[in-house]
Amino acid sequence: MTSPHRLITASPHLGVPDSTPKIMWSVVGSLVPVIATATWIFGPSVPLVLLAATAGAILTERAFGRRGSLGDGSAAITGVLLGLSLPAGLPLWMAFVGGAFGIGFGKVIFGGLGQNAFNPALLGRAFLQAAFPVAMTTWPARTGSWWTLAGDNLAWPFASPLVVDALTGATPLGLMKFEQVPTGLWDLAVGTTGGSIGETAGVVILVCGGYLALRNYLDWRIPAGIFLTVAILAALLQAVDGVRYAGPMAMLFSGGLMLGAMYMATDMVTSPVTHVGSWIFGMGIGVLVVIIRYWGGLAEGVMYAILLMNSLVPFINRATQPRAFGARTRLQP
């Protein structure tokens, strides 16, 4: 961290090239292909929404955060991830409000980076979902030229977006849940479906997240736990009723599961620190996702699954505390 003079240990010392800003900006960099794919799919609305959400996050961090906390890039990540989890047609002012809320109430209020209990980007999204439920579930269908905006992005602040019914589509999960219409696996994998900006291109997210996992910037156990749990549960349920329940691959590649598992659940601040804890955390998210998707009122449950498990992280950490070598009992904090 930034205060090495406080760490007094015996030599030899091992230098670590990683730092908070380096990791954070690597995560932002790894999202570039995801953003590019999303822009290719949804058009110029994508950079606009991302910029609005990031501006909200960064300005709030600048105004209320600690001095110099902008440089570590965590506010930028929050903004970009929040933007990726929004529908492309969302009015920009709503994206801005979401970014400001995520940083203000999700991070700064707890004392800044490292102190927050919940993932700020998801908190911002949860707020938007509760505040503007209609705008947050209006998924634009791609019609006309690439250059047309996906929705009423440029609505005045505080004004409702003008929704043209003919231009909205449904998400694969919504189709499956409410109309029992499955979506082709190829469409799900490359992202040519309805949905939030960054969640549709499953394969791209998988590759980008895999790169981060290889560099050890995210704990691979968390997404692995989520994927395994969801896949196994989905396979079991499909065996019970193949019409109502989608198969494991469709479950994995639809909705925000890829983005959530790779980028949001693995937030270093809000995930467990132990390896066993990471598995428990991931599996808990997987179970909750399946429960919410199949039996909840909503079509998608990744956001609430992650937020719920975020709240359990302190308990997971405590329960999975490793035993010190030679000690009979667990270390007491």
Binding site: F105, A131, F132, P133, A155, F158, A159, S160
Partner: protein
Amino acid sequence: MRQTTPQMDFLRGIWRENPVLIQMLGLCPALAVTNTVANSIAMGVATFFVLLGSSLLVSTFKRWVPHEVRISTYVLIIATFVTIADMLLEAVVPTVHKALGAFVGLIVVNCMILSRQEAFASKQPIGRSLLDAAGTGFGFILALLMMGAVREVLGNGTFLGISLFGPNFEPWVIMILPPGGFLTLGLWLLVLSWIQRRRAESAKVADWPAGVAQRRAA
């Protein structure tokens, strides 16, 4: 207690010891029925009336109330005034009465009212008890108005039913729902404690010895 002046009795409850914003009492109605300004005013006025009436009676009869049953006596007195307030609201503003629902009846268990009886009215003369009740009641109305104004403007785009942003306003649904109450209360507490800190810093009040003493005691 002796050295306080009548003005202090009155003013204390409005700002420095505001029941909701400082003492954190009576939070249930403050969170539940402040989704519009009209509801806030009705709730605040009803509570004000109950508080004033109860303080008057409790202070009047303080010598004849046995110590062992004083709380139940206070609750009986409060309940009497709550019943009156409930019937008055139903007769005068039936729509608001309907919107407030069970929360009018729940004024009985508003700990802010009981705390004023126990801490003040049962020990002080009638005049000062009335001043204290009026100050606390105004403080309660003020706090409810602060909450209701934010929640109605954001959640409905109106203030007292008057549209502020035109017909195209997108309501922030969450602000009318219970989470909006918690968010608004938290925001006001944030703003107030920020103001207080600014004031303390500018007055060069060294508050750390108090903190240290507290930590030692704990």
